[in-house]
């Protein structure tokens, strides 16, 4: 399959939806590609009552003339103006791969959770915080189940509140940051009314469960699946019985496609100008890959990128003013979620660091670089291509990641064969 767009948007979370809608409403031909079965990304994942902002944007998306490529995964940027994508679920009779041509590209690839290994973290029923939330929205029955939420970041509160609203018994929330580190974030919340509303909502829900700061899991226990978690706070340890552990240590941006497309990365985020343009001509980036900053910022950046990509620069610039205050929130969030160095000691020598290839900490300690460790222990050589263990080893050892190579995700060999298509003919 081969299609062409004026504007191609990758990622149908808030940033991508806002970008696609704005560009389409201004008359551009727009394609929106996303690897999930439905749009919304993580924070607007269907299966939960949406707030009014989300509902409005989904309505505008339905009404706008956007070609939706839902359930397609971008795996390569073979040359300027082209992306290669593959259908996630596919049988051999349908066209499984696509060549997507664009004049302007908007990357809204979002973020993923950071996982820090500790003994027992590979037990079934231990998920990310967003992970358990996503599964619950996907139909996992959670009512009456005991859930411990742990890690760091405002995502924990949001997840705890939502799970509680679904009937889960939230047995506790363990935030690794100390209160004073979170205080600056609270100040920022006061500056942003929308966030204050969210916080108030969480505050109501949170009176139902205990919240511990400077607290983190040190071990998970269970026979075949999770049964309890030992947590630690200032040297004191105690055990909490639970059915699920929702544990994530803040978010890291999904930079793989921006890197493959050649976008410049500074301090771990994609560098963009006022109009969300990256260092690569005709490539824009919006939302979490430019800075972890939440929904409102993602929506704003998505709109700026969409308008700019559709050639409506003055309208895009009009929105730029609002972004400045949001940048402060990004910085506040970053310092609030700073990880306690003691978290580097959670993993023991036989704690698995790479889950795809079952590589323990002991095997990794002797290496000085990600590349050497990968080559000689297979850490990062599995199907997740280092997305889970890469964030952990970056924190544990300070290792920097390799350059990115295609395919960005495991793809069928047939899709690699189909990439030989320089004449733009119909691909099989």
């Amino acid at each position: 399959m081969k299609t062409s767009f004026d504007v191609l948007v990758v990622g149908a979370g808030p940033a991508g939806i806002a970008a696609a809608v704005r560009a389409a409403e201004k008359g551009a031909s727009v394609g929106l590609v996303d690897d999930n079965p439905a749009p919304g990304g993580q924070i607007w994942r269907r299966g939960a009552p949406q707030n009014s902002s989300a509902r409005q944007w989904f309505s505008r998306l339905e009404a706008a003339k956007v070609q939706r490529l839902q359930g397609w995964c971008v795996f390569d940027a073979p040359r300027s103006g082209v992306l290669s994508a593959e259908r996630s679920d596919c049988d051999d009779e349908i066209d499984c791969c696509a060549e997507l041509h664009y004049d302007k590209l908007i990357l809204a690839t979002g973020a993923r959770e950071r996982f820090l290994p500790f003994p027992g973290w590979t037990l079934p029923n231990i998920m990310g915080a967003g992970g358990l939330d996503a599964l619950a929205r996907g139909g996992l029955p959670i009512a009456g189940k005991r859930v411990l939420v742990a890690g760091t970041g405002p995502l924990l509160l949001a997840v705890a509140a939502e799970l509680a609203a679904r009937g889960a018994i939230v047995v506790g929330l363990c935030e690794q940051a100390p209160v004073r580190q979170l205080a600056r974030l609270s100040l920022q919340l006061f500056r942003q009314p929308a966030k204050l509303m969210q916080a108030a909502h969480f505050g109501i829900a949170c009176r139902a469960f205990p919240i511990f700061t400077r607290c983190w899991p040190v071990a998970a226990h269970g026979n075949g699946k999770l049964e309890s978690v030992t947590v630690q706070r200032k040297g004191r340890q105690w055990m909490i019985a639970c059915d699920y552990l929702a544990c994530g240590f803040h978010l890291v941006p999904n930079l793989e496609l921006p890197m493959l497309a050649g976008c410049r990365i500074d301090n771990g985020f994609v560098t963009t100008d006022d109009l969300q343009q990256t260092s690569v001509a005709n490539v824009y980036c919006a939302g979490e890959p430019t800075g972890i900053g939440g929904v409102e910022r993602a929506l704003l950046e998505g709109q700026i990128a969409g308008l700019a990509a559709a050639g409506r620069e003055p309208e895009a610039r009009a929105l730029c003013r609002k972004r400045t205050s949001m940048q402060k929130f990004v910085r506040a969030l970053e310092s609030a979620c700073r990880l306690d160095p003691q978290l580097r000691t959670l993993a023991h020598k036989d704690t698995l660091i790479c889950r795809c290839e079952d590589v323990p900490l002991a095997a990794l300690r002797e290496y000085r670089s990600w590349r050497a460790a990968k080559l000689l222990t297979r850490c990062g050589m599995g199907p997740c291509q280092g997305r889970i263990c890469g964030a952990a080893t970056a924190f544990l050892f300070g290792w920097e990641q390799d350059s990115v190579r295609p395919p960005l995700v495991p793809v069928r060999m047939a899709s690699l064969i189909a990439q030989n298509n320089e004449n733009g003919e119909e691909t099989r």
């Binding site: 690897d35 999930n36 079965p37 996503a134 619950a136 996907g138 139909g139 199907p383």
Partner: protein, 82 residues
């Protein structure tokens, strides 16, 4: 024909009835303890919920290595875990 509200599928041979819109990952966790076995024989279940960790892979209708957290249940689906 309108989409059904409920979907019938099988997980490891056992019949299961779920609401429309349920992911295969959620369905399998309702009746199986794990999705896959790791290379050293540990049982594993979904971790990230968003198609990144590859822990939720199962065999669907005979095709292995399918990420169950990004696939919706369909009528008559056959899901197998080790």
């Amino acid at each position: 024909m309108p989409k059904p509200d409920h979907i019938e599928l099988t997980v490891n041979g056992a019949a299961l009835r779920v609401d429309a819109g349920t992911t295969v990952a959620a369905a399998l966790l309702m009746c199986a303890a794990h999705a896959r076995m790791s290379i050293t024989g540990e049982p594993r279940a979904p971790l990230c919920g968003m198609g990144i960790c590859y822990e939720c892979r199962v065999t669907i209708n005979g095709v292995p290595h399918q990420k169950s957290c990004q696939i919706l249940c369909e009528s008559g689906m056959d899901v197998q875990t080790p």
